[in-house]
Amino acid sequence: MDATLLLGLYRQMALCRRFEEAAAKAYSQGKVSGFLHLYVGQEAVAVGAISAAEPTDYVVATYREHAHYLARTGDARGAMAELFGKASGCSGGRGGSMHLFDAAHRMLGGWAIVGGHVPIAAGVAFASKYRDEKDVTLCFFGDGTANMGAFHEGLALAGLWKLPVVFICENNQYAMGTPLYRTLSVEDVAVRARGYPMESEIVNGDDVLEVREAVRHAVNRARRENLPIFIEAKTYRFRGHSVADPATYRSKEELRKWMERDPIRMLADRIQTLGIATEEQLGALDDEVKAQVQDAVEFAERTPAPEPDTVGEHVYA
């Protein structure tokens, strides 16, 4: 096992977690507005998957995309300032939590209509193939997306045209307050992939290495063979759908069971068992991350809101 790799993954997942804890706090203080969808508990998916791709591969995600943004860019300041609605935010304060973009790092959003970005991701992959570039597109979406027409059409075109895109279903068991079994008529979302057809794999989404391994394999195949692959990562969100949701629709027992699989704790255990780092060393790493997040919060607080008279900019090129 590669110590640098494991520590790097740990650091990234800790950054996501600490970032979102700070964001939730800022929200409760009225400094962050709008919808705030936390990824707490799911970090292994975005971090594992994005670590498996090249930095030049594209990332397309949903409104629950803090972790994807951070895993891709490492830029806590840009993300936090965006949540604070500041001009220094990664989307200039125009996007907010649901619309984090970083063109330079090929972080292509941040989309908030369920399923709407799936064909867009296929289109990004289409462009790679068109230009004979070898970049792969990672497309993230939730379990609740599987019944949407846009999901179907995006997968159908990717399957038909053999586009190099890895579809990653973040199956956190719920779409808002609705458990998956009440909306999906098949056992696994991955079943649907067969209709396009697309190879699929189901992974433990709380095991960052398992996610990474599966996505690495998928990305390589997508790149080499120019085809789409479907990965379903089973995980769980520890918080409500958004910070406004108390998540009373699920039992404490259920939550507790899943929290035992906390992906960050599991990775920490593995790192310690392997003797790569001690608890104290991980604690120090965590402190570093906290400091980075604190710096991001301060940055977000001190930088100015967009000038009102810029409101008409960027409607058109």
Binding site: G85, R94, G95, G115, G144, A305, E313
Partner: protein, 342 residues
């Protein structure tokens, strides 16, 4: 007559649905999170417990699918209430509303009636950004075959929703997320407000403010400010955009000779433009000044609160426009921003 009670907008809507569903077993409520979650905005709270899973139906995220299911069910005699979690999401089902619901009756020469209500919150809430802040009534009001209803008070919310449910046409019923907690008197007992009838929410002689939904409150606030300057604004609440109560608007303008339309949403080819066209044509000789409108600036909605406040119509902008229409200021007619709004 029993005393009116104070209800929230949300409770008034729920009461309308509950009363109608008690009355008629062919009515059901369907949408995302309407049942076990008790509604994303708690409009349907308690309704699953009351009516059971047969009549309060949680759907997958599949707006085209369940809007279409509603249309099919209505074709053969049921009376569906289809909730869009917000109207922003109706765009993925636009084809079902515009190509199917609006046209079935006509294409079939009146063989089918389509008693279906599509409802949910529309417009901006707070800092929900571009994809979640749209006031889409102008799109749907453009389409013959649909009715479009947008209440501004709990009493109207209840009365209009009951009328919409009883109507034999597809009704687009747009609420407002930021008004769900608004309280107001609601008449006890049977209370139905007919579709297509506007309501003067405040009488006045100097200028007519035409508004609907949330903007009625913006207009009323502006009217309060104007009163302090000796200007009496009449606030006409359209309540229904389609069919439009043209008579009420023209009657008011005939009295006040001046008209400002207050509309959330984009200006270009919006309902406010329609009202100005109406007033310009039918009220031309009554007018002492060109009719004006106050709308969103002509931009997608930005997330940042300070920008959002600039984009949305405010009482201040209404007041400034009224002053101009009354010839009291010579302010520039348009906000000095690139993404233009009027």
């Amino acid at each position: 007559m029993p005393e009116p009670r104070v209800l929230t907008f949300r409770e008034a809507l729920r009461e309308a649905m509950v009363e109608e569903m008690e009355r008629d077993p062919s009515i059901f409520l369907m949408g995302e999170e309407v049942g076990h979650y008790n509604g994303a905005y708690k409009v349907s709270e308690g309704m699953l417990a009351r009516f059971g899973e047969k009549r309060v139906i949680d759907t997958p995220i599949a707006e085209t699918g369940f809007a279409g299911v509603g249309i099919g069910a209505a074709m053969v005699g049921l009376r569906p209430i289809i909730e869009f979690m917000t109207w922003n999401f109706s765009l993925v089902a636009a084809d079902q509303l515009i190509n199917n619901a609006a046209k079935l009756r006509y294409m079939s020469n009146g063989q089918f009636t389509l008693p279906i209500v599509f409802r949910g919150p529309g417009g901006a809430a707070h800092a929900l950004a571009a994809q979640h802040s749209q006031a889409l009534e102008s799109l749907y009001a453009h389409v013959p075959g649909l009715k479009v209803v947008m209440p501004s008070t709990p009493a109207d919310a209840k009365g209009l929703l009951k009328a919409a449910i009883r109507d034999d046409n597809p009704v687009v019923f747009i609420e407002s997320e930021v008004m769900y907690a608004l309280k107001g008197d609601v008449p006890a007992g049977e209370h139905v407000v007919p579709l297509g009838v506007a309501d003067v929410k405040r009488p006045g002689r100097d200028v007519t403010l035409v508004a609907w939904s949330k903007m009625v409150h913006t207009a009323l606030k502006a009217a309060d400010v104007l009163t302090g300057e000796g200007i009496e604004a009449e606030v006409v609440d359209l309540r229904t955009l389609r069919p439009l109560d043209e008579r009420a608007v023209l009657a008011s303008v005939a009295r006040t000779h001046r008209c400002v339309v207050v509309q959330e949403g984009w200006p270009f080819a919006g309902v406010a433009a329609e009202l100005i066209a109406l007033v310009a044509r039918e009220g031309f000789d009554d007018l002492d000044a060109p009719p004006e409108r106050v709308t969103n600036l002509d931009v997608p909605m930005p997330y940042a609160r300070n920008l959002e406040n600039v984009v949305l119509p405010s009482p201040e902008r209404v007041v400034a426009t009224v002053r101009r229409v009354l010839g009291l200021t010579e302010a520039p007619r348009r906000p000095a921003v690139a993404g233009r709004g009027r």
